[in-house]
Symmetry: C2
Amino acid sequence: MSTDTNADADDESTSKCGASSTAETETETSSGSKCGASSSDPDGSDDSSSSKCGASNSDSSSSGSSCGASSSDSDDDSSTEQEVGATIEDFEADPGQLIAVGLGPGHAEGMTERAKNALLDADHIVGYTTYIELIPDEITEQADEIYDTPMCGEVSRTEESIDRTLAGNDVAIVGSGDPNVYALAGLALEILESKGATASMVDFDVVPGVPAAQSCAARLGAPLVNDTVSVSLSDHLVPMPEIESRLHSVASENFTITIYNPWSRKRRENFQKCCEILLTHRDPDTPVGIVHGAGREDEQVMITDLDELEDLGESEIIDMTTTIVVGTEDTYVWDDRMVTPRGYETKYDY
Amino acid sequence: MSTDTNADADDESTSKCGASSTAETETETSSGSKCGASSSDPDGSDDSSSSKCGASNSDSSSSGSSCGASSSDSDDDSSTEQEVGATIEDFEADPGQLIAVGLGPGHAEGMTERAKNALLDADHIVGYTTYIELIPDEITEQADEIYDTPMCGEVSRTEESIDRTLAGNDVAIVGSGDPNVYALAGLALEILESKGATASMVDFDVVPGVPAAQSCAARLGAPLVNDTVSVSLSDHLVPMPEIESRLHSVASENFTITIYNPWSRKRRENFQKCCEILLTHRDPDTPVGIVHGAGREDEQVMITDLDELEDLGESEIIDMTTTIVVGTEDTYVWDDRMVTPRGYETKYDY
């Protein structure tokens, strides 16, 4: 498995940026590593960093920042001369356009035409390094600047994208999956508001992408064709009791449940608790699909059942890049595919 | 509004195919129209038809079927000579490949590269006429045959696609949105199983697309960035008490709720009931986003609140092509955008 996709989000809050995190998810003793990693949540969220690294001024004079933020064009500092924390009053230029672009699953073929065009139109492309690497070279080569932070926080990166927009550039901030799924579209609006700017002022737009729930479901067969719910087990921004309450409420109804951010070293109890709650309401033989690194080189797919799920928490297949699909009482496994009937069989003879 | 996108799914079960349904959603007195329409559910599902029209043998000798099924190449009957209801034993050829392809939002730019390539590789493309029309001409022109049914059922169409596959053709069955969201991926697997075939035998695959929830959320701002749920109000395949129970369970938790298939003439009580349940658990001023015909020519976007929602059931903006996003207690409207905070504001100073 690649280091990028094994990063453990919760570590970042106590770590420094700029250093790589070498397989720390698998190695308990490496927890003191620097730049403990941003989340590599398959929908583009990395809701982990409390550090401000990456949001440091990316002016060419500070290109050696401790955060590892890189600019592909260090000679061009015209757009990046604002201090972080700047408000709308600090910018004299007419604002550019800000677009949150979802890249979809991990391969370039999973992008929409609209996402490609939005990236081609952008002056600057901002994103977590792993996601920037998903973008075909012919697109990134067209940009004036690429601002990527290898293992740093999304708050600072999003602020950077906004400052660059307010300084007059057309900016695309990218994530995998969809910008609305545990991802940066909302944060961009919140930061815009905090700066005294408006969404209209920067012509803010969202280019949707295929979310992890759907790209993973596609790998598993047809598990999500009825009412369905997404729950993230990350308690960095949502208290665990609230997550537990949500799990109880949906597990007792016949929803399929897609679990994002299922596991990290700091969150092993959350995963355990989730499995317990699911087993309180559903049979141990309820089918469960697991997709690790969907659309990426290290993709792994497994279909198991609820009874086996908890033990897999310690295995390589479940980490922050994994999406888990829990079937309903109607879901069955057939020819290595998960199928949740839509209900046609109650009406039709086939 | 276009007639295609106003079709009322529930009418089809009592109607004949082949005729158009002229704005019947708006005109109570037109309920006796022929071929009462398939659903134009924005995620590709049309879970409405109990008629078998459209599944009639599309051999060139029967191309004048009453269903309106058309074949773009009536001289080629080699692949379509099987009777509907055929099982795997009735086919002598080596099966082709069957791919369920999600077209994403209603415009061609919303398709992924992978979806385009899958369609270009297919011998036959099968789908509801409205969806076939979303595919660029340069793709449909490459296909040997296009099988589209203008207002008929998805069960027969899906069976048609499977029979064509088992007869040796590489077939793509298409829908808008994603094939896993209230759509045909599951039905295809169920029908394959009923015919004694297997998914492996036809190398069944799903090409995911951007679901309506995400394409609509993108139009509204950033309403879905936390835990979220999708519920369809169509009780054609799921009993209404079950839908009500699900709504109660998720409305009492802090999920955003995306409502599919919110309204039809035959289902006005479902919409009313849904509004009542939501108001039992959430404030009347909870923001609600409404997107009609996302990505299509007749797209309309409105942001309102829960208190106003019920009255809009009778208005043009809410029909079977509409997706409704109900905010949480944290969701707010800012600069004409719905924003559901991810929770960053509890941890970060910006």
